[in-house]
């Protein structure tokens, strides 16, 4: 029985490796390289124990705790403790994303494309495709865990000892595998790839938010999140291994459930029912813009919800910022208190930058959908109708721009509503302007994407590298003491950090002109090139 269900699993596993080896290698090299680069950078940036203690002190506040986690060993803030505190939480999310995207591709995407049916028609077992994906992910996450562990240990940095390093790697591998299993389960529940990825990312986001809320307010709550579990290893400080065992046990349970559901359902079907649809198109679905919106409606709703929750969470911790900082004596040394600027405002400015970058993700997705439609060969039919290229690209760009306005507004409103409640004498308006001030920067990102779609449609993925770089500069720019010319390469660097900085009309105007110019070039390229499908 068993061998029947999993027949040919090794052939299929090797096939997955062969098919995705490049993508997988890129993920692993990226995650390992990123981790090691940061580990190597820390000793240069924070040479003495005193400097590290200063940093630790500045990190103990609800905003940072919500962002990266509680942090252990803050009284002896070694390089190891720094890594586990500032990097590990972030890396678990990246590892989670890697597993979600890869497993969704191997399972539901292949099924949706009819490939699973073809493989099942060959003498391979009913569970072989999912089994092969799980086997590959187990191997991949193990490789990643060992590579991160040995890599960190081999840097020879004091306090990055062997056990701690291996545990650090194990945390990343275990959480990765956990989300591989979660995705396999979601692939059973939903009928589409988008649904699978959406649901899995919702679980990942939920795990992050529960951990964030728990770390700030209630320790027990954090233990309801798998990210809370793995950060509870207190890596490099106490090196508890049992949370890894717990995570792997939970992973196994979820995987078994996914396998079970896979055996009792039809190929192509999901467990969430799909309701019968409309016989005719609504008044709305009558233009390329209506179509673009309709196709991304649920994604937009999902992102809006996520952003509201995140903004409210951040807003709720703002009230405690001031109290925390009053306790720390040498705080004034570290963050030179500006005249008439509260610490709350300073953190608000940082949070707004982070929110703006997060909001850029759905905005980019909205315009990249145009490229996705081409790749899925659905544009040809539309271009055989009297629809011009300008109208088509314009529709997707307009939708992306409107989404960015809407989401920045919602984010400012959500954080502000919460902020007004928890901060004395706070007003709503500054929250909204501090959020909307990022609009020109987001539009520059959209324009660059339009340029890529117009001229280099095969390389639109580059925009994510650019956004990742922007995130690094905004988030770590000060921590890594990056030079000005480097941080200046991202539009986000040119946005005044309101409410601390004044609104700068010139920089906004220049960015809008840059966006219009680049965007126009993108349209020009799109008009001139072949549409491949």
């Amino acid at each position: 029985m068993k061998s029947r269900l999993f027949k040919n699993i090794s052939t299929l596993s090797r096939f997955i490796f062969k098919k995705d080896r490049f993508k997988m290698a890129l993920w692993i090299v990226g995650i390992v390289g990123f981790t090691l680069a940061v580990a190597v950078a820390f000793p240069d940036l924070y040479r003495t124990a005193a400097e590290r203690q200063q940093l630790a002190a500045s990190m103990v506040n609800p905003a940072v705790t919500a962002l990266v986690g509680r942090g252990y060993g803050l009284d002896d803030y070694t390089y190891g403790a720094m890594m586990a505190h500032q990097m590990l939480g972030m890396t678990t999310i990246i590892a989670g994303l890697m597993n979600i995207l890869l497993v969704a591709k191997h399972t539901r995407a292949d099924e949706e494309a009819g490939l699973t049916e073809m493989i099942l028609s060959l003498p391979s077992g009913r569970l072989s495709t999912m089994g092969a994906s799980m086997a590959v992910m187990a191997v991949l996450n193990s490789i990643m865990a060992v590579a991160v562990g040995l890599g960190l240990f081999s840097t020879g940095i004091e306090s990055l000892d062997l056990e701690g390093s291996l545990l650090y790697g194990a945390v990343i591998g275990a959480i990765g595998l956990f989300f591989a299993a979660v995705t396999a389960l979601c692939a059973q529940l939903t009928e589409s790839t988008r649904g699978t990825i959406g649901l899995s990312i919702a679980v990942l986001g939920g795990a992050y938010l529960i951990r964030a809320a728990g770390d700030v307010s209630n320790e027990t709550l954090s233990w309801f999140s798998p990210i809370g579990w793995v950060l509870g290893t207190e890596t490099y400080v106490n090196n508890y291994w049992w949370p890894i065992i717990l995570t792997l046990a939970a992973t196994l349970c979820i995987a078994v459930l996914a396998f079970y559901l896979n055996t009792i359902r039809d190929v192509g079907a999901g467990f969430f029912p799909s309701k019968p649809g409309r016989m005719t198109a609504s008044l709305f679905l009558r233009s390329p813009f209506g179509l673009a919106l309709r196709l991304q409606r649920s994604s937009l709703v999902f992102w809006t919800l996520g952003i509201v929750v995140l903004a409210v969470t951040y807003g709720s911790v703002l009230g405690e910022t001031e109290i925390y900082f009053e306790d720390i004596e040498f705080m004034e040394e570290f963050l030179p208190v500006m005249e008439g600027v509260s610490l709350t405002d300073q953190f608000l400015a940082v949070l707004m930058a982070v929110m703006a970058i997060i909001i850029t993700i759905p905005a980019l997705l909205m315009i990249l959908k145009l490229k996705g439609e081409e790749k899925n060969q659905r544009l040809e039919s539309l271009f055989s109708l009297p629809v011009s290229r300008i109208r088509m690209m314009g529709s997707y760009l307009l939708l992306a721009m409107l989404s960015s306005v809407f989401l920045l507004l919602v984010s400012g409103l959500a954080m502000g509503s919460m902020g007004v409640a928890v901060i004395e004498e706070a007003e709503l308006a500054p929250f909204i302007t501090s959020s909307l001030v990022y609009l020109p920067a987001v539009w520059v990102m959209l324009a660059v994407t339009a340029l890529l779609i117009g001229f280099l449609p095969k390389y639109t993925g580059l925009i994510w590298l650019y956004l990742g770089f922007s995130f690094m500069t905004v988030y770590f720019g000060d921590l890594f003491q990056m030079p000005g010319w480097l941080t200046g390469l991202t539009p986000f660097d040119h946005v005044p950090g309101m409410p601390v900085d004044e609104f700068n009309f010139m920089s906004a105007a220049v960015m809008i002109i840059v966006a219009v110019t680049i965007g126009a070039a993108g349209f020009f390229g799109y008009l001139k090139r072949d549409i491949h499908g």
């Binding site: 949706e112 009928e191 589409s192 988008r194 799909s274 019968p276 649809g277 409309r278 016989m279 005719t280 198109a281 609504s282 679905l285 009558r286 233009s287 390329p288 179509l291 309709r294 196709l295 899925n376 060969q377 659905r378 544009l379 040809e380 039919s381 539309l382 271009f383 055989s384 109708l385 009297p386 629809v387 011009s388 001139k528 090139r529 072949d530 549409i531 499908g533």
Partner: protein, 302 residues
Amino acid sequence: MSVISAKGLTKNFGKFKALNGVNLEVDKGEVYGFIGPNGAGKSTTIRVLLGVLKATEGKAEIFGMDAWSEAVEIHKRIAYVPGDVNLWPNLTGGEVIDLFVKLRGGSQRRKREELIDRFKLDPSKKCRTYSKGNRQKVALVAAFSSEADLYILDEPTSGLDPLMERVFQECVKEAKNEGKSILLSSHILSEVERLCDKVGIIREGKMIESGTLEELRHLTRTQLHVETREPSPGLVKIPGVHNLQKNGRAATFQVDSEKLEDVISYLSSYGVLKLESAPPKLEDLFMRHYKGENSGPVGEGG
């Protein structure tokens, strides 16, 4: 007046030459069969005509307008059914039909309902659940329920069952009767024979034959089976006779259509007992073109 006029179309994908000087002429009210095996360049030609791909060289005009630069204007009057119909998995068939019809402008509610009925399509189902044939039906309903002057159909029946294929053929005939022009790419030869006035054959990016069916029939061979009272030894020497198989006084062979007269007059002197003939088939012409890379032009015996 020609509706489609393409001259010397060449299309390179990198180093690969997908089209190599394709000429194509479709007149008003004509059904043009565009045939060729997989990968010959039919879809590429059609995409150039639609202004989706830009020709590397050559000129394509539809309704006298440039296919690339005046695409939007042209598309108000054409309806297209792609070879590989890809639809949005989370829209229903009904929604897609309405979207297409709306974007083209001018809706015909009654025609839409009638066609949905004739093609037996359930428009309330999500496209993700449709088979290839059903996706093709969606595109066909959308195409035939709009008021177009030119229909461009790229292997539209490759996923349809025989019953639906017949419905499709009726639709084409109705459109033709209304004076519409149709470019029908296909590799189903019986379909082309039944529907088309003119045929063009493409191979490896080159048009190797084109003309009316009658013209092309001259170039095809008739299959003959004869039994004569006396043996007919000279048969093998008559030019235009191919693949001769003799079994005593019975002979089976193919003969070039224009040499049929010579053969019959030769045979008549040996006392014909039995004569069976199979009509010239487009298929034979097609097969002769595609059997070997090196098969020469039609007419030179093989």
